[in-house]
Protein backbone atom coordinates (compact mmCIF):
# COMPACT_ATOMS: atom_id res chain seq x y z
CA UNK A 1 0.00 0.00 0.00
CA UNK A 2 3.02 2.21 0.33
CA UNK A 3 2.99 1.76 -3.43
CA UNK A 4 -0.40 3.49 -3.69
CA UNK A 5 0.92 6.38 -1.59
CA UNK A 6 4.02 6.63 -3.81
CA UNK A 7 2.00 6.61 -7.03
CA UNK A 8 -0.42 9.14 -5.62
CA UNK A 9 2.41 11.41 -4.51
CA UNK A 10 3.96 11.25 -7.97
CA UNK A 11 0.67 12.16 -9.54
CA UNK A 12 -0.08 15.11 -7.30
CA UNK A 13 3.48 16.44 -7.47
CA UNK A 14 3.39 16.31 -11.24
CA UNK A 15 0.08 18.15 -11.41
CA UNK A 16 0.70 21.18 -9.26
CA UNK A 17 0.53 20.00 -5.65
CA UNK A 18 4.30 19.76 -5.07
CA UNK A 19 4.49 22.67 -2.65
CA UNK A 20 1.55 21.36 -0.65
CA UNK A 21 3.27 17.96 -0.42
CA UNK A 22 6.42 19.69 0.83
CA UNK A 23 4.64 21.50 3.60
CA UNK A 24 2.67 18.43 4.78
CA UNK A 25 5.56 16.70 6.51
CA UNK A 26 4.94 17.46 10.18
CA UNK A 27 1.15 17.62 9.95
CA UNK A 28 0.66 14.10 8.55
CA UNK A 29 2.72 12.66 11.38
CA UNK A 30 0.10 13.80 13.89
CA UNK A 31 -3.20 13.33 12.06
CA UNK A 32 -5.30 13.87 15.19
CA UNK A 33 -3.98 17.40 15.40
CA UNK A 34 -5.45 20.61 14.09
CA UNK A 35 -2.55 21.24 11.63
CA UNK A 36 -3.42 18.05 9.73
CA UNK A 37 -7.11 18.85 9.68
CA UNK A 38 -6.39 22.42 8.61
CA UNK A 39 -4.14 21.26 5.80
CA UNK A 40 -6.82 18.83 4.64
CA UNK A 41 -9.41 21.60 4.73
CA UNK A 42 -7.24 24.06 2.84
CA UNK A 43 -6.32 21.80 -0.08
CA UNK A 44 -8.62 23.33 -2.67
CA UNK A 45 -7.64 26.88 -1.81
CA UNK A 46 -3.93 26.11 -1.75
CA UNK A 47 -4.07 24.35 -5.10
CA UNK A 48 -5.87 27.27 -6.71
CA UNK A 49 -7.03 26.76 -10.28
CA UNK A 50 -5.35 23.34 -10.49
CA UNK A 51 -7.63 21.91 -7.77
CA UNK A 52 -10.40 21.06 -10.17
CA UNK A 53 -8.35 19.46 -12.92
CA UNK A 54 -8.81 15.72 -13.38
CA UNK A 55 -5.42 14.08 -13.88
CA UNK A 56 -5.26 10.71 -15.59
CA UNK A 57 -4.86 7.95 -12.99
CA UNK A 58 -1.59 6.01 -13.19
CA UNK A 59 -2.08 2.65 -14.96
CA UNK A 60 -1.44 0.73 -11.74
CA UNK A 61 -4.43 2.37 -10.05
CA UNK A 62 -6.79 2.59 -12.96
CA UNK A 63 -8.98 -0.30 -11.84
CA UNK A 64 -9.96 1.53 -8.62
CA UNK A 65 -9.43 5.21 -9.39
CA UNK A 66 -12.02 7.07 -11.44
CA UNK A 67 -11.44 9.67 -14.14
CA UNK A 68 -13.63 12.30 -12.44
CA UNK A 69 -11.32 12.52 -9.41
CA UNK A 70 -9.90 16.00 -9.18
CA UNK A 71 -6.43 17.00 -8.15
CA UNK A 72 -7.98 18.06 -4.84
CA UNK A 73 -9.36 14.52 -4.40
CA UNK A 74 -5.98 12.98 -5.20
CA UNK A 75 -4.18 15.37 -2.88
CA UNK A 76 -6.54 14.62 -0.02
CA UNK A 77 -6.17 10.90 -0.74
CA UNK A 78 -2.42 11.33 -0.45
CA UNK A 79 -2.81 13.16 2.87
CA UNK A 80 -5.00 10.39 4.27
CA UNK A 81 -2.66 7.66 3.02
CA UNK A 82 0.28 9.37 4.70
CA UNK A 83 -1.70 10.01 7.88
CA UNK A 84 -2.71 6.36 8.07
CA UNK A 85 0.98 5.45 8.16
CA UNK A 86 1.20 7.32 11.45
CA UNK A 87 -1.72 5.86 13.39
CA UNK A 88 -2.07 2.33 14.80
CA UNK A 89 -4.17 0.13 12.52
CA UNK A 90 -6.88 -0.06 15.16
CA UNK A 91 -7.39 3.72 14.95
CA UNK A 92 -7.51 3.91 11.16
CA UNK A 93 -11.30 3.62 10.74
CA UNK A 94 -11.91 6.35 13.32
CA UNK A 95 -9.39 8.66 11.64
CA UNK A 96 -11.13 8.35 8.28
CA UNK A 97 -14.58 8.69 9.82
CA UNK A 98 -13.55 11.80 11.71
CA UNK A 99 -11.96 13.29 8.63
CA UNK A 100 -15.24 12.71 6.81
CA UNK A 101 -17.46 14.03 9.62
CA UNK A 102 -15.29 17.08 10.10
CA UNK A 103 -15.28 18.00 6.45
CA UNK A 104 -17.30 20.48 4.45
CA UNK A 105 -18.94 19.21 1.29
CA UNK A 106 -15.84 19.16 -0.90
CA UNK A 107 -13.71 17.47 1.76
CA UNK A 108 -16.42 14.88 2.25
CA UNK A 109 -16.59 14.20 -1.48
CA UNK A 110 -12.84 13.61 -1.62
CA UNK A 111 -12.90 11.17 1.30
CA UNK A 112 -15.76 9.17 -0.19
CA UNK A 113 -14.53 9.00 -3.77
CA UNK A 114 -11.14 7.69 -2.73
CA UNK A 115 -12.11 5.24 0.05
CA UNK A 116 -11.50 2.44 -2.39
CA UNK A 117 -7.77 3.21 -2.58
CA UNK A 118 -7.17 3.16 1.17
CA UNK A 119 -5.34 0.15 2.60
CA UNK A 120 -7.75 -2.68 3.50
CA UNK A 121 -10.79 -0.72 2.39
CA UNK A 122 -13.46 -2.84 4.15
CA UNK A 123 -12.30 -1.19 7.39
CA UNK A 124 -13.83 2.05 6.16
CA UNK A 125 -17.31 0.74 5.43
CA UNK A 126 -18.78 2.62 8.39
CA UNK A 127 -17.71 5.91 6.80
CA UNK A 128 -19.29 4.96 3.48
CA UNK A 129 -22.54 3.88 5.09
CA UNK A 130 -22.70 6.97 7.31
CA UNK A 131 -22.21 9.15 4.23
CA UNK A 132 -25.41 7.80 2.73
CA UNK A 133 -27.33 9.59 5.52
CA UNK A 134 -26.29 12.97 4.16
CA UNK A 135 -28.83 15.47 2.91
CA UNK A 136 -26.33 16.93 0.43
CA UNK A 137 -26.85 15.38 -2.97
CA UNK A 138 -23.28 15.91 -4.15
CA UNK A 139 -21.97 14.13 -1.05
CA UNK A 140 -24.45 11.31 -1.56
CA UNK A 141 -23.41 10.98 -5.19
CA UNK A 142 -19.74 10.87 -4.19
CA UNK A 143 -20.35 7.56 -2.44
CA UNK A 144 -23.26 6.19 -4.46
CA UNK A 145 -22.32 7.04 -8.05
CA UNK A 146 -19.25 6.11 -10.10
CA UNK A 147 -17.74 4.52 -7.03
CA UNK A 148 -16.81 0.84 -6.69
CA UNK A 149 -16.80 0.98 -2.89
CA UNK A 150 -20.47 0.34 -1.99
CA UNK A 151 -20.97 -2.71 -4.22
CA UNK A 152 -17.68 -4.13 -3.00
CA UNK A 153 -18.10 -3.58 0.73
CA UNK A 154 -21.58 -2.49 1.85
CA UNK A 155 -23.74 -5.10 3.58
CA UNK A 156 -27.02 -5.77 1.77
CA UNK A 157 -29.13 -3.59 4.04
CA UNK A 158 -26.94 -0.52 3.55
CA UNK A 159 -26.56 -1.13 -0.17
CA UNK A 160 -30.31 -1.50 -0.66
CA UNK A 161 -31.01 1.67 1.31
CA UNK A 162 -28.44 3.53 -0.78
CA UNK A 163 -30.06 2.43 -4.02
CA UNK A 164 -33.53 3.44 -2.84
CA UNK A 165 -32.22 6.75 -1.56
CA UNK A 166 -30.73 7.40 -5.01
CA UNK A 167 -34.26 7.19 -6.38
CA UNK A 168 -35.55 9.53 -3.66
CA UNK A 169 -32.91 12.21 -4.18
CA UNK A 170 -32.81 11.71 -7.97
CA UNK A 171 -29.22 10.59 -8.09
CA UNK A 172 -28.80 8.54 -11.25
CA UNK A 173 -29.18 4.83 -10.50
CA UNK A 174 -27.45 4.08 -13.81
CA UNK A 175 -24.25 5.42 -12.25
CA UNK A 176 -24.32 3.04 -9.26
CA UNK A 177 -21.47 0.64 -9.92
CA UNK A 178 -22.00 -3.08 -9.50
CA UNK A 179 -25.77 -2.84 -9.15
CA UNK A 180 -26.45 -5.84 -11.39
CA UNK A 181 -24.59 -8.18 -9.06
CA UNK A 182 -26.34 -6.77 -5.96
CA UNK A 183 -29.87 -6.97 -7.32
CA UNK A 184 -31.19 -9.23 -4.55
CA UNK A 185 -34.82 -10.33 -4.07
CA UNK A 186 -34.99 -7.94 -1.09
CA UNK A 187 -33.88 -4.96 -3.19
CA UNK A 188 -36.39 -5.86 -5.88
CA UNK A 189 -39.13 -6.09 -3.25
CA UNK A 190 -38.22 -2.64 -1.92
CA UNK A 191 -38.34 -1.20 -5.42
CA UNK A 192 -41.68 -2.86 -6.17
CA UNK A 193 -43.14 -1.67 -2.86
CA UNK A 194 -42.02 1.85 -3.65
CA UNK A 195 -43.65 1.71 -7.07
CA UNK A 196 -46.86 0.50 -5.42
CA UNK A 197 -46.72 3.32 -2.87
CA UNK A 198 -46.30 5.90 -5.63
CA UNK A 199 -49.23 4.49 -7.58
CA UNK A 200 -51.40 4.52 -4.45
CA UNK A 201 -50.54 8.22 -4.11
CA UNK A 202 -51.39 8.84 -7.78
CA UNK A 203 -47.83 9.94 -8.36
CA UNK A 204 -45.53 8.91 -11.20
CA UNK A 205 -43.10 6.07 -10.59
CA UNK A 206 -39.55 7.34 -11.27
CA UNK A 207 -38.02 5.61 -14.27
CA UNK A 208 -34.98 4.62 -12.19
CA UNK A 209 -37.23 2.13 -10.36
CA UNK A 210 -37.45 0.16 -13.59
CA UNK A 211 -33.67 0.29 -13.77
CA UNK A 212 -33.41 -1.32 -10.33
CA UNK A 213 -35.93 -3.95 -11.35
CA UNK A 214 -33.88 -4.72 -14.44
CA UNK A 215 -36.72 -3.72 -16.73
CA UNK A 216 -34.54 -1.19 -18.55
CA UNK A 217 -31.00 -1.56 -19.65
Amino acid sequence: MAETARLTEELVRANGAASLVERAGAAVMAPAGIPFRALFAGVTRRLGAAAGCTPLPPPELVSSARPHWTLADWTRLWLVLRALEHVPAVDAPALVLRTFEGGELGEQESVLRTLTLLPEPPRFTETGVAACRTNAKRVFEAIACDNPFPAAHFPDLAFNQMVMKAVFVEAPVARIEGLAARRTPELLRMARDYASERRAASRPVPSDVALILGELS
Partner: protein, 295 residues
Protein backbone atom coordinates in the same frame (compact mmCIF):
# COMPACT_ATOMS: atom_id res chain seq x y z
CA UNK B 1 -61.60 27.20 14.89
CA UNK B 2 -58.34 26.85 16.77
CA UNK B 3 -55.74 24.62 15.14
CA UNK B 4 -52.90 22.47 16.48
CA UNK B 5 -49.80 21.53 14.51
CA UNK B 6 -48.60 18.42 16.34
CA UNK B 7 -45.32 18.08 14.46
CA UNK B 8 -43.29 21.09 13.35
CA UNK B 9 -39.57 21.90 13.69
CA UNK B 10 -39.81 25.59 14.47
CA UNK B 11 -36.15 25.89 15.36
CA UNK B 12 -35.48 26.21 11.65
CA UNK B 13 -38.40 28.56 10.91
CA UNK B 14 -38.60 32.33 11.10
CA UNK B 15 -40.66 34.75 13.14
CA UNK B 16 -42.59 35.49 9.91
CA UNK B 17 -43.69 31.87 9.98
CA UNK B 18 -44.81 32.20 13.58
CA UNK B 19 -46.82 35.31 12.74
CA UNK B 20 -48.43 33.65 9.72
CA UNK B 21 -49.26 30.54 11.76
CA UNK B 22 -50.88 32.61 14.50
CA UNK B 23 -52.85 34.59 11.89
CA UNK B 24 -54.04 31.30 10.35
CA UNK B 25 -55.44 30.09 13.66
CA UNK B 26 -52.66 27.85 14.95
CA UNK B 27 -52.82 28.12 18.72
CA UNK B 28 -50.57 25.25 19.78
CA UNK B 29 -47.71 23.21 18.42
CA UNK B 30 -45.57 20.25 19.33
CA UNK B 31 -41.94 20.50 18.28
CA UNK B 32 -40.41 17.02 18.22
CA UNK B 33 -36.69 16.59 18.72
CA UNK B 34 -35.27 15.35 15.46
CA UNK B 35 -32.07 15.68 13.49
CA UNK B 36 -30.99 19.03 12.15
CA UNK B 37 -30.19 18.38 8.50
CA UNK B 38 -26.77 16.99 9.03
CA UNK B 39 -25.49 14.47 11.52
CA UNK B 40 -24.27 15.80 14.86
CA UNK B 41 -20.93 14.49 15.97
CA UNK B 42 -21.05 15.21 19.72
CA UNK B 43 -23.46 14.43 22.54
CA UNK B 44 -23.08 18.01 23.75
CA UNK B 45 -24.72 19.43 20.64
CA UNK B 46 -27.79 17.31 21.40
CA UNK B 47 -27.94 18.67 24.89
CA UNK B 48 -27.82 22.24 23.65
CA UNK B 49 -30.46 21.40 21.05
CA UNK B 50 -32.75 19.95 23.75
CA UNK B 51 -32.20 23.05 25.86
CA UNK B 52 -33.07 25.33 22.96
CA UNK B 53 -36.36 23.48 22.36
CA UNK B 54 -37.24 23.94 26.03
CA UNK B 55 -35.99 27.50 26.31
CA UNK B 56 -35.63 29.94 23.48
CA UNK B 57 -38.00 28.13 21.09
CA UNK B 58 -40.79 28.00 23.63
CA UNK B 59 -40.26 31.67 24.39
CA UNK B 60 -40.34 32.53 20.67
CA UNK B 61 -43.62 30.65 20.16
CA UNK B 62 -45.21 32.33 23.15
CA UNK B 63 -44.23 35.72 21.78
CA UNK B 64 -46.65 35.05 18.95
CA UNK B 65 -49.42 33.70 21.15
CA UNK B 66 -48.72 30.04 20.36
CA UNK B 67 -48.52 27.35 23.04
CA UNK B 68 -45.30 25.35 22.54
CA UNK B 69 -44.70 21.78 23.66
CA UNK B 70 -41.92 19.45 22.63
CA UNK B 71 -40.93 15.82 22.52
CA UNK B 72 -37.50 14.55 23.50
CA UNK B 73 -35.73 11.65 21.91
CA UNK B 74 -32.96 10.35 19.73
CA UNK B 75 -34.04 10.20 16.11
CA UNK B 76 -33.38 7.02 14.13
CA UNK B 77 -30.94 8.57 11.67
CA UNK B 78 -28.52 9.54 14.41
CA UNK B 79 -29.21 6.33 16.35
CA UNK B 80 -26.79 4.76 13.90
CA UNK B 81 -23.88 6.65 15.42
CA UNK B 82 -23.14 4.55 18.50
CA UNK B 83 -20.72 7.08 19.99
CA UNK B 84 -23.43 9.71 20.05
CA UNK B 85 -26.41 7.43 20.66
CA UNK B 86 -25.28 6.00 23.97
CA UNK B 87 -24.55 9.44 25.38
CA UNK B 88 -27.92 10.80 24.30
CA UNK B 89 -29.75 7.81 25.78
CA UNK B 90 -28.03 8.59 29.07
CA UNK B 91 -29.26 12.18 28.96
CA UNK B 92 -32.85 11.40 28.10
CA UNK B 93 -34.20 10.46 31.55
CA UNK B 94 -33.24 13.98 32.61
CA UNK B 95 -34.83 15.73 29.65
CA UNK B 96 -37.99 13.62 29.82
CA UNK B 97 -38.64 15.19 33.22
CA UNK B 98 -38.74 18.73 31.87
CA UNK B 99 -41.83 20.91 31.78
CA UNK B 100 -43.72 20.86 28.52
CA UNK B 101 -42.22 17.57 27.31
CA UNK B 102 -45.30 15.72 26.15
CA UNK B 103 -43.84 12.58 24.52
CA UNK B 104 -40.72 10.63 23.68
CA UNK B 105 -39.97 11.26 20.02
CA UNK B 106 -39.24 11.23 17.20
CA UNK B 107 -38.13 7.66 17.57
CA UNK B 108 -38.40 4.65 15.28
CA UNK B 109 -36.78 3.42 12.12
CA UNK B 110 -35.12 5.16 9.20
CA UNK B 111 -32.80 2.71 7.42
CA UNK B 112 -34.31 -0.10 9.54
CA UNK B 113 -30.93 -1.14 10.99
CA UNK B 114 -30.22 -3.18 14.15
CA UNK B 115 -28.74 -0.03 15.73
CA UNK B 116 -31.99 1.84 15.13
CA UNK B 117 -33.96 -1.03 16.61
CA UNK B 118 -31.88 -1.05 19.79
CA UNK B 119 -32.30 2.69 20.34
CA UNK B 120 -36.00 2.56 19.44
CA UNK B 121 -36.73 -0.24 21.92
CA UNK B 122 -34.71 1.44 24.67
CA UNK B 123 -36.62 4.68 24.25
CA UNK B 124 -39.97 2.91 24.47
CA UNK B 125 -38.77 1.63 27.86
CA UNK B 126 -37.83 5.17 28.88
CA UNK B 127 -41.30 6.34 27.82
CA UNK B 128 -42.96 3.63 29.89
CA UNK B 129 -40.84 4.59 32.90
CA UNK B 130 -41.80 8.24 32.49
CA UNK B 131 -45.48 7.53 31.68
CA UNK B 132 -45.11 9.42 28.43
CA UNK B 133 -46.65 8.68 25.05
CA UNK B 134 -44.35 8.07 22.07
CA UNK B 135 -44.16 9.82 18.72
CA UNK B 136 -42.87 7.51 16.02
CA UNK B 137 -41.16 8.54 12.80
CA UNK B 138 -41.73 5.99 10.03
CA UNK B 139 -39.13 5.57 7.30
CA UNK B 140 -39.54 7.23 3.93
CA UNK B 141 -37.70 4.45 2.12
CA UNK B 142 -39.21 0.98 2.44
CA UNK B 143 -42.12 2.63 4.24
CA UNK B 144 -44.66 -0.16 4.22
CA UNK B 145 -42.31 -2.82 5.58
CA UNK B 146 -40.78 -0.30 7.99
CA UNK B 147 -44.20 0.61 9.35
CA UNK B 148 -45.15 -3.06 9.79
CA UNK B 149 -41.94 -3.64 11.75
CA UNK B 150 -42.62 -0.51 13.78
CA UNK B 151 -46.02 -1.83 14.82
CA UNK B 152 -44.45 -5.17 15.73
CA UNK B 153 -41.89 -3.44 17.96
CA UNK B 154 -44.65 -1.46 19.67
CA UNK B 155 -46.63 -4.65 20.28
CA UNK B 156 -43.63 -6.51 21.66
CA UNK B 157 -42.61 -3.62 23.90
CA UNK B 158 -45.99 -3.70 25.57
CA UNK B 159 -46.69 0.03 25.42
CA UNK B 160 -50.38 0.77 25.01
CA UNK B 161 -51.32 1.47 21.38
CA UNK B 162 -53.30 4.45 22.67
CA UNK B 163 -50.02 5.95 23.93
CA UNK B 164 -48.47 5.60 20.48
CA UNK B 165 -48.63 8.06 17.58
CA UNK B 166 -47.26 6.66 14.33
CA UNK B 167 -46.41 9.49 11.97
CA UNK B 168 -45.89 10.08 8.22
CA UNK B 169 -48.63 7.69 7.09
CA UNK B 170 -49.84 7.18 3.55
CA UNK B 171 -52.46 5.18 1.68
CA UNK B 172 -50.59 1.94 2.23
CA UNK B 173 -49.88 2.26 5.95
CA UNK B 174 -52.89 3.99 7.48
CA UNK B 175 -55.19 0.99 7.75
CA UNK B 176 -52.68 -1.18 9.59
CA UNK B 177 -51.83 1.66 12.00
CA UNK B 178 -55.49 2.29 12.82
CA UNK B 179 -56.16 -1.43 13.15
CA UNK B 180 -53.31 -1.65 15.67
CA UNK B 181 -55.07 0.86 17.93
CA UNK B 182 -52.30 3.46 17.53
CA UNK B 183 -52.92 7.07 16.55
CA UNK B 184 -52.01 7.99 12.98
CA UNK B 185 -50.22 11.18 11.93
CA UNK B 186 -49.96 12.54 8.40
CA UNK B 187 -47.31 15.00 7.27
CA UNK B 188 -48.73 17.28 4.60
CA UNK B 189 -45.93 18.33 2.30
CA UNK B 190 -45.62 20.42 -0.85
CA UNK B 191 -44.27 17.53 -2.97
CA UNK B 192 -43.47 14.40 -1.00
CA UNK B 193 -45.15 12.56 1.88
CA UNK B 194 -48.91 13.43 1.90
CA UNK B 195 -50.84 16.25 0.23
CA UNK B 196 -54.20 17.90 0.93
CA UNK B 197 -56.37 16.18 -1.72
CA UNK B 198 -55.04 12.75 -0.75
CA UNK B 199 -55.65 13.58 2.93
CA UNK B 200 -59.23 14.53 2.12
CA UNK B 201 -59.70 11.15 0.46
CA UNK B 202 -58.25 9.34 3.48
CA UNK B 203 -60.51 11.21 5.90
CA UNK B 204 -63.53 10.39 3.75
CA UNK B 205 -62.54 6.73 3.85
CA UNK B 206 -61.37 6.40 7.47
CA UNK B 207 -63.11 9.21 9.36
CA UNK B 208 -61.54 11.30 12.10
CA UNK B 209 -60.91 8.92 15.00
CA UNK B 210 -57.22 8.83 16.03
CA UNK B 211 -56.24 10.72 12.86
CA UNK B 212 -53.93 13.75 13.01
CA UNK B 213 -52.38 16.02 10.41
CA UNK B 214 -49.20 18.07 10.69
CA UNK B 215 -46.87 20.14 8.54
CA UNK B 216 -43.61 18.50 9.67
CA UNK B 217 -42.12 21.78 8.46
CA UNK B 218 -38.38 21.97 8.96
CA UNK B 219 -35.23 23.28 7.28
CA UNK B 220 -36.22 21.87 3.90
CA UNK B 221 -38.87 23.02 1.46
CA UNK B 222 -42.00 22.64 3.57
CA UNK B 223 -45.00 24.72 4.60
CA UNK B 224 -45.82 25.66 8.20
CA UNK B 225 -49.40 26.45 7.15
CA UNK B 226 -50.27 22.95 6.01
CA UNK B 227 -52.60 22.29 8.96
CA UNK B 228 -54.81 25.31 8.16
CA UNK B 229 -54.60 24.48 4.46
CA UNK B 230 -55.67 20.90 5.09
CA UNK B 231 -58.52 22.09 7.32
CA UNK B 232 -59.66 24.33 4.46
CA UNK B 233 -59.41 21.47 1.95
CA UNK B 234 -61.47 19.23 4.22
CA UNK B 235 -64.09 21.96 4.61
CA UNK B 236 -64.24 22.56 0.88
CA UNK B 237 -64.73 18.83 0.32
CA UNK B 238 -67.75 18.87 2.63
CA UNK B 239 -66.22 17.20 5.67
CA UNK B 240 -68.23 18.15 8.77
CA UNK B 241 -66.84 20.92 10.99
CA UNK B 242 -66.89 18.61 13.98
CA UNK B 243 -64.68 16.10 12.19
CA UNK B 244 -62.25 18.82 11.11
CA UNK B 245 -62.03 20.07 14.67
CA UNK B 246 -61.43 16.53 15.89
CA UNK B 247 -58.52 16.03 13.47
CA UNK B 248 -56.94 19.46 13.70
CA UNK B 249 -57.46 20.33 17.36
CA UNK B 250 -59.03 17.74 19.64
CA UNK B 251 -57.03 14.67 18.62
CA UNK B 252 -53.58 16.15 19.20
CA UNK B 253 -54.76 17.49 22.54
CA UNK B 254 -56.25 14.15 23.58
CA UNK B 255 -53.12 12.30 22.55
CA UNK B 256 -50.52 14.56 24.14
CA UNK B 257 -52.64 15.25 27.24
CA UNK B 258 -51.90 11.64 28.19
CA UNK B 259 -48.50 12.97 29.27
CA UNK B 260 -50.23 14.80 32.11
CA UNK B 261 -48.26 17.88 31.06
CA UNK B 262 -50.67 19.51 28.66
CA UNK B 263 -53.69 21.21 30.17
CA UNK B 264 -56.52 21.05 27.64
CA UNK B 265 -58.47 23.78 29.41
CA UNK B 266 -55.50 26.16 29.33
CA UNK B 267 -55.22 25.68 25.58
CA UNK B 268 -58.78 26.95 25.14
CA UNK B 269 -57.79 30.31 26.60
CA UNK B 270 -55.78 32.72 24.46
CA UNK B 271 -52.16 32.97 25.46
CA UNK B 272 -51.66 36.64 26.31
CA UNK B 273 -48.79 38.02 24.31
CA UNK B 274 -46.30 40.33 25.95
CA UNK B 275 -43.57 41.21 23.51
CA UNK B 276 -41.82 43.39 26.04
CA UNK B 277 -40.70 40.14 27.68
CA UNK B 278 -37.11 39.04 27.39
CA UNK B 279 -35.58 35.57 27.51
CA UNK B 280 -32.12 35.57 29.04
CA UNK B 281 -31.97 39.20 28.05
CA UNK B 282 -33.04 38.60 24.46
CA UNK B 283 -36.10 39.84 22.62
CA UNK B 284 -37.56 38.50 19.38
CA UNK B 285 -38.13 42.10 18.35
CA UNK B 286 -35.70 44.19 16.35
CA UNK B 287 -36.95 47.67 16.98
CA UNK B 288 -40.66 46.91 16.41
CA UNK B 289 -43.33 48.24 18.77
CA UNK B 290 -44.01 45.40 21.22
CA UNK B 291 -47.48 43.88 21.27
CA UNK B 292 -49.02 43.65 24.75
CA UNK B 293 -52.38 41.94 24.87
CA UNK B 294 -53.07 42.64 28.53
CA UNK B 295 -51.57 46.10 28.79
Amino acid sequence: MKLFDPHIHMTSRTTDDYQAMADAGIAAIVEPAFWVGQPRTHVGTFEDYFLSLLGWERFRANQFGIHHFCTMGLNPKEANNARVADGVLELLPLYLEKEGVVAVGEIGYDDVTPAEERVFARQIELAKDANLPILIHTPHRDKKRGTERTLAVVREAGIAPGMTLVDHNNEETLKSVLDSGCWAGHSIYPKTKMDEPRMVALVKQYGSERILVNSAADWGVSDPLKVPKTAAALREAGVAEAAIETICWKNPIAFFAQSGRLDAAALERPLGVDQTALWEGNSVLRGQAPRRDNA
